[in-house]
Amino acid sequence: MIKTILIDDEPLARSIVVEYLQHYPEISIVQECNDGFEGVKAITQHKPELIFLDIQMPKINGFEMLELLEQPPSVIFTTAFDEYAIKAFESHAIDYLLKPFSRERFDKALQKWLQQHKHAEAPRALLTEDVRQPEERNRIVIREGSNIRIVPVHEIHYIEAYDDYVKIFTQKEMFMKKKTMSFYEKSLDESQFVRVHRSYMLNLQQLTKIEPLEKDTYLALLKSGAKVPLSKSGYAKLKGVLGL
């Protein structure tokens, strides 16, 4: 039996998928979710092979929800937003159904997935990296146990690499997220965040002072009092961005 979960904030939009899926007795819908929070919980609990996912949803959108999953399942997006199609394929979606869609179109998407599913279990792991935001990233969603936190990027002071994770520092807190530095270097606004070291990125808004540490290395002082080391090339980059 193949398990699937439907995530969409409009009940009728889910009901059409339910109806179309009746023709696939091998697929069972284990849960229907109204938003990304419910979605994360249900996916963690049931570990479905496939999900049908809307993009615009309450609180966190479909892309952000995927980011919160350690091992995302295969995704078929269902949405009325066609400007997100390219982004969705970049995030290795199986297919992208534009509402309203016909049964033929739905069947095609599902056949495509069933083919891939039969041949290999491989493609799902691809999803973890490089899920990009539909619009410029202005917040980061973080999962802490059963809680989901939404952190506006302007509240981030600096980011530090930590094995497979990054540590995200705000005024009072620190969050861990399983992502790479280069992911944030790519997705955060480069006029606001500068990678100043192999292991550090800082928010320019927070910078107060740069002082020399040793020969060729410097230290950045942030408003909070935190100190961030600058590499030689990081120092040069920072000077460039600041126009010094």
Binding site: E10, L12, P152
Partner: protein, 361 residues
């Protein structure tokens, strides 16, 4: 209940033009009549001609000058010399003045006016004087005509300019007016598609609602004012559709003062504000939400207030009236020339959008 907002300038300049034409005709007639009266009396009193002879002379002469003036007026309609070429006008006027004097002599001599010797010698000796007088009069009329046409040109230019600006404004208003959100349309169609399989009757009903809503959106004129009652009934169609889409999550509460229902507002102004509130409320929280809409009639203005819940913790700091409301703001500015009609504020977990619509009584 329909009324249209039009710029005051166009109507005003049309009115000005009409009054001027009538005034000018009246002024010319009175002027000629006054001259005839004064000159007749002068001839009668100074030279002792009979009243009929004096009158014949002055009427004849003044009508000739008036004709010459009219010819000047007509020619200036087609050719307006610039200030540099004013000399042409002077030469032209001298010619007309000479012709007037000669024609006057010819008509007086050949006409049945019972001429006396005294009159004939007067006619001969006053030729130079008459010529100069005719020239002055014709030149004066020429200058007046020239000014008149010049002013008309200026006015036409101004009108063209204001027309161009009005067209640009109309075009901008048309773009700003609630355009159908494709997202809303496609999601509604998707709901209909879902209903068609399980509850065809409801699908049909929703098609009806969507059609009525679309029709209302298409037929409205950008600058048309509609009554609050009408705007609210259009809004209801929209709300009914959204409620089918979002089910129990969305409920609305509309409180409109009885006295406010005949108040006028630009058509389709309220709906985008409510749409914004619904989106904000639905996507910023996960629970059930209530959208409150209130209409209050105040001191020569209609106040519309739309409230939606939001989460101050997670919602992005938004600058000013940001998001979907900027086009409403711009539209109000184009229609009323004011930037202070739309305002937003927050009260704990409620986001409040308020619009004031001036009511001209």
């Amino acid at each position: 209940m329909h009324r249209t907002l039009i710029g005051p300038t166009e109507a005003m300049s049309r009115e000005l033009l009409k009054i001027s034409t009538r005034k000018i005709v009246f002024a010319v007639i009175s002027w000629v009549a006054a001259l005839v009266a004064v000159e007749t009396y002068a001839l009668y009193d100074t030279f002792g001609f009979s009243i009929s002879l004096a009158l014949a002379d002055t009427v004849n002469f003044n009508l000739l000058i008036a004709t010459a003036g009219y010819i000047t007026f007509v020619s200036l309609r087609y050719y307006q010399p610039s200030a540099k070429n004013a000399v042409y006008l002077i030469v032209w006027d001298i010619g007309l003045a000479v012709l007037s004097v000669l024609a006057h002599n010819g008509i007086m001599v050949s006409g049945p006016f019972g001429l006396t010797d005294m009159y004939l010698s007067y006619l001969e000796s006053s030729q130079i004087f008459r010529g100069v007088l005719a020239w002055l009069m014709i030149t004066l009329m020429g200058i007046i005509s020239w000014t008149w046409f010049f002013m008309q040109d200026v006015r036409a230019g101004e009108k063209r300019e204001s027309d161009t600006m009005r067209l640009a404004r109309d075009a901008e208003l048309a773009t700003l007016r609630q355009q159908l959100q494709p997202h809303f349309l496609f999601n509604s169609l998707n709901s209909i598609s879902a209903l068609a399989g399980v509850r065809p009757e409801q699908a049909r009903k929703m098609i009806q609602q969507l059609s009525d809503f679309l029709r209302g959106t298409i037929k409205k004129d950008d600058q048309q004012l509609v009554s609050l009652k009408e705007e609210l009934s259009h809004l209801q169609l929209y709300l009914d559709i959204e409620k089918v889409r979002f089910g129990h999550r969305l409920s609305t509460e509309i409180i409109a003062q009885e006295s406010a229902s005949p108040n006028l507002l630009p058509s389709l102004l309220l709906q985008p504000i409510v749409e914004n509130a619904i989106k904000f409320g639905l996507y910023d929280t996960t629970g059930e939400i209530v959208i409150r809409i209130a209409a209050i009639t105040g001191d020569k203005q209609l106040i519309l207030r739309v409230e939606n819940p939001f989460d101050p913790e997670t919602s992005q700091p938004r600058s000013g009236t940001g998001f979907g409301l900027s086009s409403v703001q711009r539209r109000l500015y184009l229609l009323y020339g004011r930037n202070d009609l739309l305002s937003t504020r927050t009260q704990e977990k409620t986001f409040i959008t308020e619009v004031k619509i001036p009511q001209s009584v």
